[in-house]
Amino acid sequence: MGLTAKDIEHLKEALQQAVVKCSERCLYQSAKWAAELLDSIPDASPAEVEQRAAGGVGNYVHPAFFPSADPVEAALEAKELNRYLLAKSFFDCKEFDRCAAVFLPESILSGVLSAKLSEINSPRGKGKASAALPADHALPALSQRSLFLALYAKVISGEKRKDEDSEMILGPQDLGAVVNKQLLIVSRFLERWFAERQTEDGEGLPPSQGFLEYLYGMVLVKQKNDLTAKEYLMQSVHIFPWNWGCWLELTNLISRTEELEKIAPHLPQNIMSFIFHANTRVNLYQQGQDLAASLNDLLNIFPTSSFLLTCKALLNYHSKDLMTAEQDFSNLLALHPHRLDSLDHYSNILYVLNSRPKLAFLAHLCSSIDKFRPESCVVIGNYYSLLSLHEKAVQYFRRALTLDRSCLSAWTLMGHEYVELKNTHAAIESYRRAVDVNRRDYRAWYGLGQTYEVLEMHAYALWYYKKAAGLRPWDGKMWQAVGSCLQKMGRDRDGIKALKRALLADTYYDSTASSFGSAGPVDRMAQMDPEVLLQIASMYDRLDEEDEAKAYMELCMAQEDGGAAGAEGAGLGDSVAIHHDSPGGVASDGETEGAERASGHEGTGVTVATSKARMWLARHAMRTEDYPAANRLATELCQDGVEVEEAKALIREARSRMELSNMMDR
């Protein structure tokens, strides 16, 4: 995707405008995002700069002074400038109610709302009511910018109050039931505003700037009216595509790839839409060459954009290429040492890689920059979790949530910690809140399943595992969980299917991961998990399909010398190793087996699973009167030192039978 110098010039201008417009409306995060993106565009070559300088400094106009394109709006804005500046200062000082009252004092608001009510209550008496209250009835004549600021302040003040009312995290008041009381007012107002526009007398009104649609969409999202919200948000991005917050709201509304494909044609075709598409796909845990390619394209335009670099790192992370993801984040950190955003993901990666000193350093760095940012708290919590100091970890996750209740990863991670602390009740609640914040968080779904499995409520667990598997269809771990759950419920047929899927998924990851040309833990997927194979085999065994069972048992046993991969599978199935989506059993590293496991990293070797398979095979051989085979297998078992007593008994029996048959033969 090549851009000419002129294109880049236009892009820069558009972004500058976007920053100004967003910060005029106190959309700080969007402004920050746009500014970061703007800064990451490399400067033009010196020749061009000179050329422009020759054009004269005098021609330079600060983007803040571009007048509004629409004359009516411009006039209104000019008229309200003083009041606008007042309101903006109030907003900057976090006096939201006061800010709202500058443009929308209670009298006007109540007038507007009551008029609306009367319209609803008595459709016949509309004319009469308007005649009675002509002044109050009409919407105040405000510029869209001021109107947005006022209404936005109202929403924010409502959010603030909502957080205050919820009180302590996971406390008695914190049930997620507290609502933002300003939403109703704002949505009524905006409904009215849009209604006015659609009627015939709205012809003369100036065209919308897009921000009010964004606000309405945001309010609708909060009211869980997703469909309408999506409509308004799409309208907004059509009118003003540079508002990243709006795109982000859209991303949050899309929970499946199909939805994304569905709305893609209706979106405007520009670079923002392109970024949105890539970001949403990353957030949906998609992966593939094309996504990586499109991210690379974007990075060609914005080489140092921290946002895009984060996306790229996350993409690698989701496709289980941890080393590359770690490197990406590390580079990002070096590039923007003061940036805390998304460092929580980095800490997750370091956690999975068990890179303790680095994680400690990261936590130190974060806490030096700002110890009261949710990201810092999550990083520190992760560090403590890695040290198996779960109480402290919970404390830091709680702090993160107190700072920002919508901090998704903190909810999930806190759930993990509660599981470690055997507080299943709190764990379930935490996971539930995580899922409520973001329905795409497969880790929370998986955690929920795991918790219910611990509680031996398999039917419940199955439902959550299925959810997780739906979100990550190519993650073997999900399917494996589904399979073992089904197995425990006695639905062997379905279980076998699920587990086979798991095997398939593992090999899929292997193939995609290799496309990134990385080494390291990914290779371990090159062979099948003996544990899964054993599970499948034992289910077949229970279904009395001996041939299948035997085949899988042999396959399982074959894994011992199958390749140069690790013995990760051992004991994974029913362990509580649920931290993150790590393929390894890192979470249980603090336990005693840690060392032993680490030592088995090179070859598969003998594992519990393969030994079990061997034992089964030996018994099977006894049953089918294949004594030499039984003898061989049992001897191997003795050599491996697993279940020696039983193996010796088998050997004795097999030998005696063989001798007997020898004697018979003679």
């Binding site: 070096a334 000193p357 030096s368 560090y383 005693t592």
Partner: protein
């Protein structure tokens, strides 16, 4: 700021780990363990020689040194070789290896996590280990209840309690603490680089390239940018508190001020900690109090109690009032002090705080002894009862509540009361013995000063000067180390006074000047010191007839007013004033002053010895105006009072005065008999001036007797000559003793008398000789004074 752990403590932990790894060679074990123990325990294990003056601030100084710099470790560990590595490696190298091995924040965490391995295992743990197939540990193990073990355990606990940012701060502080050794470490390990203080940075350098520095600065903050300019010190709250406690304890125990250097260092530490314990205000208060800065002391006292008024669920208002009262009385605001103390008493009663109540009553009792006027109204309104009742009450309460110090000092006070009332010596002694038994039973070293000074007083009153001197010496040599500086000062002054009484002024001054100048920082002590020095000088000047200098000194001393001195000292000034007036011949002024003082003393019911002294002064005055017979009754009264109270030195003086009157009345034989009887005993009292006076009186009596013999007939020339010879002997003795106390006027008088005697005896040459000596002496005195 962490509560307990600080970089220095991590150093101690590392050293303990070295010790358990048996890296410490045999010859270094004692110094290393001693070093560790002196920083972990309260006691000091180094045996200081008993003669050397103990350095009381050594502990605080070494604690501060350790907190500030790693050099202390080097001093201890440098000289020894490590036992477990290549030869040539010093123990210091091993220690540094250990410290530099902690190479990241996580390294610190690991270091702390590893610590419990050093602790001895419980049986349960051993069984679990055995079950897991592990062998029991073999290296040196620390019992969890031993000092080292407790320290290790506590450190682990405190670390696990820390918030993350605190442990990060600790890590940063540790990096900074360790940094001075980087140069040395680099010489030993060439691969050591600039960023080696954090291995994550070193490893990241390949990846991050030039932005590594930026990252390091972000993580470590100003520490890296400022370099040496950054003087912040990481200390733990615990360090600061223990330092404060040491200082307050020193202040309380010895009454010293903190040396300036130490104070500055401590301020430096406090500056960087955003936590200032309230005890620091108390320290400031004590310091300003002792330095005599009255308003600031008030300010600090109020601040301290504002912060601690409601501490641990208890009210401390009464203590605040008590401190305030003591402060006020120290600065001479006696009236305010009394009202404040009374309020303290009532508050203590309200709050049922026996301890405070007892102390307050005790203080009030002593205060009442010192300033009877102020307390008199109180006693009459029967709020406290008389002194004796208070004392009984105090003794009872102290016994009940086990406040041994209070009990002992109440007993002592009672002994003093008995003495000053002139009651039975045996009773006084009984109280003293009881108090002494208590002191010894409870090992109250601090009470030794008060006890010995009471005993010395008793010996003094009994006229056993050498016993008194010995008691003072015993205190100064054996007990001064453990007691308040005030006691030491007073004992030294008492000793100097005794020496001066013997006319050994130079030695006396030497004693006084020999007092530790540092301890005289405290304003009260230095005031007392200066006053006593002035008094000694005054006495010497008076004796030497240097009246101008004496006037100078007296005007200064009298100016200070009775508010700022203890009543005993005030009396001494007054009596010297009277003497000066008498010597100058202003008899009327002297007489008026004596009369006034006598009536005052009687009103206040003061020490009986003072009253006798005044009576004797009065008699002396009558003698000076040549009407000795007028003082007869007074002298008789003084003698009988002194006899009753067994005030032996005063008794001899009174008898001397009587003999003088007898002389005047012409009863020479009786006078001579009296004087002959008392002279040997008077010699025991070591008061040379009195002895000299007695001798001169004896000479007078003998001369009188000689005159009588001459008057009767000529036949008794032989007898007359004998009397004259005896008079001559007495005059010689008197002259000798007068010259011992350097009393010029009396010496001249004696010489004149001697010359007359010689002429009477017909030895003109000798008479001329004496006259010439007289003139020389007179001229010398004039020359010296003029």
């Amino acid at each position: 700021m962490s509560r307990y752990l600080a970089p220095a403590r991590i150093g101690l932990l590392a050293l303990i780990e070295l010790y358990t790894e048996e890296a410490v060679p045999t010859d270094a074990i004692v110094p290393v363990v001693n070093f560790l123990a002196s920083h972990l325990l309260d006691c000091d294990l180094t045996i200081s020689s008993p003669t050397a003056p103990p350095d009381r601030w050594a502990k605080a100084e070494s604690a501060i040194r350790l907190v500030l710099s790693i050099r202390d470790f080097e001093q201890v560990l440098g000289p020894f070789l490590a036992a477990d590595r290549l030869p040539g490696r010093r123990l210091w190298d091993r220690f540094l290896e250990k410290l530099w091995h902690i190479d990241s924040l996580h390294g610190l965490q690991e270091f702390i996590d590893r610590l419990p391995n050093m602790l001895a295992k419980t049986k349960e743990e051993l069984r679990r280990r055995a079950a897991a197939g592990k062998k029991p540990p073999t290296s040196v193990l620390l019992s969890p209840t031993a000092p080292f073990g407790a320290f290790v355990k506590r450190s682990c606990l405190e670390f696990s309690r820390m918030q993350f940012n605190h442990s990060a701060e600790l890590w940063q502080g540790f990096v900074k603490y360790r940094q001075p050794t980087a140069g040395y470490w680099r010489r030993r390990n060439p691969q050591h680089g600039r960023l080696s203080f954090d291995s994550v940075l070193v490893n990241g350098e390949e990846e991050w390239g030039r932005s590594t520095d930026a990252l390091a600065v972000v993580a470590y903050g100003n520490m890296l940018l400022m370099g040496d300019l950054d003087e912040t010190v990481t200390v733990s709250t615990d360090d600061i508190e223990s330092l404060l406690e040491i200082q307050v304890e020193q202040l309380h125990r010895y009454g010293n001020r903190i040396p300036a250097g130490l104070r500055d260092q401590f301020r430096h530490i406090l500056k960087d900690s955003h936590f200032i314990p309230s005890l620091a205000h108390y320290l400031n208060y004590s310091d300003t109090w002792r330095s005599g800065d009255y308003p600031t002391a008030f300010d600090h006292l109020h601040r301290y109690f504002d912060y601690t008024m409601q501490n641990r669920g208890r009210l401390f208002y009464q203590y605040a009032l008590m401190n305030l009262a003591i402060l006020q009385s120290d600065f001479g605001c006696h009236k305010e002090a009394v009202t404040t103390m009374l309020e303290s008493v009532s508050t203590a009663r309200e709050n049922r705080d026996t301890t405070c109540l007892n102390f307050a009553l005790h203080w009030l009792f002593h205060f009442g002894r010192a300033h009877p006027k102020l307390v008199r109204e109180l006693e009459s309104s029967s709020m406290l009862g008389t002194g004796k009742e208070t004392l009984m009450f105090l003794q009872l309460r102290a016994k009940e509540s086990g406040m041994w110090v209070l009990w002992s000092s109440a007993l002592m006070a009672e002994a003093k009361l008995v003495m000053s009332n002139g009651d039975s010596v045996a009773t006084a002694l009984e109280h003293m013995v009881r108090s002494s038994q208590l002191n010894i039973e409870r090992n109250m070293k601090t009470m030794m000063g008060a006890q010995l000074s009471t005993i010395a007083t008793l010996w003094d009153r009994l006229g056993l000067a050498h016993m008194s001197t010995m008691t003072c010496e015993v205190f100064l040599r054996c007990h001064a180390r453990n007691s308040i500086f005030d006691d030491e000062l007073k004992m030294t002054c008492r000793l100097a006074g005794l020496l001066a009484g013997k006319g050994r002024y130079e030695e006396a001054f030497e004693k006084i000047e020999g007092i530790n100048r540092n301890s005289l920082d405290s304003v009260k002590a230095s005031q007392y010191w200066h006053l006593f020095r002035g008094l000694l000088k005054l006495r010497r000047d008076l004796h030497r007839g240097n009246l101008e200098a004496a006037d100078d000194l007296l005007s200064q001393l009298l100016q200070a007013g009775p508010e700022s001195f203890e009543p005993d000292m005030v009396f001494m000034i007054d009596s010297l004033h009277i003497e000066a007036l008498t010597r100058r011949g202003e008899f009327q002024a002297a007489f008026n002053k004596i009369d006034r003082l006598i009536s005052e003393l009687r009103e206040d019911n003061r020490d009986i010895s003072l009253r006798i002294r005044l009576l004797l002064n009065k008699v002396h005055l009558f003698d000076r105006i040549d009407r000795p017979e007028k003082g007869f009754t007074i002298a008789m009264r003084a003698a009988s009072m002194a006899w009753r109270a067994r005030l032996v030195p005063l008794l001899w003086q009174a008898i001397g005065a009587l003999a003088n009157i007898l002389n005047a009345l012409g009863e020479f034989a009786a006078a001579a008999q009296l004087l002959f009887a008392i002279l040997p005993r008077c010699l025991e009292t070591d008061s040379i001036f009195v002895v000299a006076t007695l001798y001169s009186l004896l000479a007078d009596a003998r001369m009188g007797q000689a005159g009588e013999v001459q008057g009767r007939s000529d036949a008794h020339t032989h007898e007359r000559t004998e009397f004259l010879t005896r008079a001559h002997e007495a005059l010689d003795a008197a002259l000798k003793h007068y010259s011992a106390v350097e009393d010029v006027e009396k010496q001249c008088e004696m010489l004149a008398k001697k010359a007359t005697l010689m002429r009477v005896m017909g030895d003109d040459v000798l008479a001329e000789d004496c006259a010439a000596k007289y003139l020389v002496m007179k001229r010398a005195a004039v020359g010296r004074n003029g």
